[in-house]
Subunit: 357 residues, 2 copies
């Protein structure tokens, strides 16, 4: 596949303040753009990062056909770089596209395009501890039309943003039992923009109450836990790891979730993917068997949960520094991402082998 | 309130082919724009219709804080013009905004701004039978930021599009019992872009099967009817009008729905707003008491339903030309909109009193 490349004459990379990178506010020099029309994708182009011009009737703004992914590239010890499991994001992107009535996209455009873009913007991958380059592929409907129907045209883009060290403060969770994120038959399993818009108000409300994030529950009984804000959720109960299964199609099939399950198993921790009720968590906590709790996601890799509040009941866990399993898995996951241990699972897509290439 | 007005030097109104207007594809000469930042709305401006420049990280495209309304202006017999119940759309717009974590907007910006815009674009309100000027107010998040949180900045706009005569062919409806539009605790009552994106694929699927639209059912039992595509739904059963109530927050509080309820009552037809199960419809049809069925919405005002298919069962109604009640109400509603009968309900917001003003 031919990618047309127009390099910028004015790299901004020297302006990046590497000791105070704010997530999601600065963008690398280039972006990938690919347009869909007449039933097919055109040739992808890599161009200087910059604004795009849209008609006010842009279909995506009115009818919500808009999806995205979140991926990360990591600086490797030899000076090279690698992207963590982007093929999983490509697969999920196409599942989102299908459910939203949008066209699927080839691995050539999504994966080869991403790799070429990261290669060109290599200088934007930070070197400092716990930093990375956040990669944002997204697609939106571009018809200039006010009727309710699937758009005939779309734009796929990839933009990159340097990500600073993630401050992994233990989180305080509020278990939501009135607002609902997703239901069977809906779009909960997709990374559709609309899912996030619907969560803003409920999340702001629990923040006002002093909690960090919402743990969503099922739409029917508000009893079975689903996912946390932008993360999947895991509990260590009596030495076993349990996490909600994906069968109902109401939660995201997280790439970090999948990776953590694999590492847990490799470390001999039994993993159960199944419905988990609040009652079970309350019981386990009473019996002293709710040992650890954490969220998984691209942003924080693993984020440890300090307490869970459900109605009047607050379940406080032991200090997260004592989370034996979670800390061990998090270290392994980060060590793989930063190339500090062998990538036995073949999770890294190498972009540059070393600085010399 | 001061509205800054920049008129175009190049009106395109003479290019409008009045005998072949396609809905939602052509836009009037001007648009209203108003920006929200630092916790408040700035001054609205009316400017020539045209493209806007956005950053690829525009929050609305990634996190779905995007809402809209649909309103219509009608040419009046004396050459003047009027907008149909826009204050109801303003109220609903603010309910959508609140649920999506977006700022509410004043009636001065929304209503006075709309009136001024329609005044300036008066030449774009078509004259021909059954035509109108479709008015699209919308608001979207404009932060250039990739983190999941409510945007701090927003853009409110109003654009207008001439609408040709609506071809009111009776519709064939498929009752959806696997995909779900909305659930209690979600955003079904809002005109959020995300609600429409989620409906594209299921709607395309039933179109392939030969149906025009989906009648959504409740998320829990797939038993209680909700709304149709972009319309609310009414049934005439044994001389009474029944329509789903708004209590669960899963369906839109349609302005046409509200208007039709008022007209039905005025015409002595009892109206029941309550849950309606598929079983009740099947029973009524068997007993010969499912007399009429129709959808209500801004686009079609009233759209008559010819048949409803639920699983293997197809309920075919009498020819829609024989819908005594629906035809009578539709005529009355249109007569009010086009100023052909007295506006007793005070539903019309007059923009121009006559051509002479």
């Amino acid at each position: 596949m031919e990618i047309k490349i127009s390099r910028t004459d004015n790299s901004r990379v020297h302006e990046l303040k590497r000791d105070e990178i704010v997530f999601g506010q600065e963008y690398a020099d280039h972006m990938l753009v690919c347009d869909y029309k007449d039933g097919q994708w055109g040739a992808p182009e890599i161009v200087p990062f910059g604004n795009i011009s849209i008609c006010p009737s842009l279909s995506a703004l009115h009818y919500g056909q808009s999806i995205f992914e979140g991926v990360k590239a990591y600086r490797q010890p030899n000076g090279g770089s690698a992207i963590f499991r982007p093929e999983k994001n490509w697969e999920r992107f196409n599942k989102s596209a299908q459910r939203l009535g949008m066209p699927e996209i080839s691995s050539e455009i999504f994966l080869d395009g991403m790799r070429e873009l990261i290669n060109i913007d290599d200088a934007w991958i930070p070197n400092e501890a716990d930093t990375s380059l956040y990669i944002r592929p997204f697609m939106f409907a571009t018809d200039e039309f006010l009727g309710v129907r699937s758009s005939f045209t779309y734009k796929f883009m990839i933009i990159n943003s340097p990500a600073g060290p993630y401050y992994n403060k233990p989180v305080s969770i509020y278990v939501q039992s009135s607002f609902v994120r997703a239901v069977q038959g809906g779009i909960g399993f997709t990374k559709a923009a609309g899912n996030y818009g619907a969560s803003m108000y409920p999340t702001a409300e629990v923040r006002k109450m002093g909690y960090d994030q919402i743990l969503w529950t099922d739409a029917f009984e508000h009893k079975y836990v689903q996912e946390i804000g932008t993360m999947n959720v895991f509990f260590i109960i009596d030495g076993k790891a349990v996490t909600p299964d994906l069968n109902a199609g109401t939660i995201l099939a997280g790439v970090t979730r999948d990776s953590v399950i694999a590492l847990l198993k490799e470390n001999g921790v039994p993993v159960e993917e199944r419905p988990i009720s609040i009652d079970e968590l309350v019981e386990a906590h009473k019996a002293g068997k709710l040992e650890e709790a954490f969220g998984t996601g691209t942003a924080a890799s693993m984020s440890f949960i300090q307490d869970l509040t459900y109605n009047e009941e607050k379940l406080t866990l032991k200090p997260t520094t004592e989370y034996t399993i979670a800390n061990k898995i998090k270290t392994q996951l980060d060590d793989i991402r930063y190339g500090r241990i062998e990538d036995k699972q073949n999770w890294l897509l190498k972009v540059k082998q070393s600085v010399l290439i």
